[in-house]
Amino acid sequence: MNEQPERHGPLLENRLPAEGINSSDEHPLKEFAWLIGASLMTLAVLLALVGWGARWLAPLVPFSAEVALAERMVDRPEKPEHAARSAALQVVAKRVAAQMSLPADMSVVLGYDESSLVNAYATLGGRIRVFKGLLRELHSEDALASLLAHEIAHVRRRHVASGVGLRWRCCWAWCPPMLAQPSRSLR
């Protein structure tokens, strides 16, 4: 206390204020946990939204990315005796694709599968596989051309990508997306 005995005028002193007014007693880890929790929840919500829209967002991924993925995951070494058949299919596909005005940056790669399934499918990166079983059922080159036109249409409209997106939505984060999209058979 600072008081000069014969002084008039106001009292002059410094009183200590209460603690905790300008600072916080709350444990910093509590705030940290709350903020981390809120961030994780926001992230989860955002991921859920992206996952939900994957079906529509996946086709926006450039085709070149699909091709890169296909090279890694879909392509497999071909037996030499099948190479000639794949090449023949590729010739027909090239003619059909030219008629369908497939964009310049998209191309299809044909593959022959010796399984006796009666089916054909389009998968990532413009890869189209035709099974031996289906080829046996086709009776003319025009029929083959129609089949290939159907598959090329899937590729052009990016159905494969949105299919991946759709499966991503269904098995979100837990199942790997299925890569093949078997098409309905031509029968």
Partner: protein
């Protein structure tokens, strides 16, 4: 509680000076408002979100200052002053300080 930036309180007499009462707060707006303010930077003009932020921060700082003054036993704060500092981008500290005094009517 009377809060003034004058040296004296009109119609009152200072009986005791009890020290300097301080109130401060550091606040930020959330990232959504930051983003909108960033867009506003293109056209210029008042950033309403930040004006609001600073106003809230100032009110809170003055509130804390009066809380401190009350805890010192004062019933008024004179010589109010504000100090503003930017701590990080998007966060500002407002400090309000003044004399914690006891006044009585003359």
């Amino acid at each position: 509680m009377l809060v003034s930036n004058l040296e004296t309180a009109p119609g009152h007499r200072v009986v005791a000076h009890l020290g300097v009462a301080q109130g401060s707060t550091v606040r930020a707006k959330h990232v959504g408002r930051d983003f909108l303010a960033g867009l506003k930077n293109i056209v210029g003009g008042e950033l309403k979100a930040y004006t609001e932020l600073m106003q809230e921060a100032r009110d809170e700082a003055v509130q804390r200052m009066t809380d401190e003054a009350r805890s010192m036993g004062a019933n008024a704060v004179l010589n109010l002053r504000f100090v503003t500092t930017s701590i990080t981008t998007g966060a500002a500290e407002i400090l309000a300080y003044g004399s914690a005094v006891t006044i009585e009517k003359v």
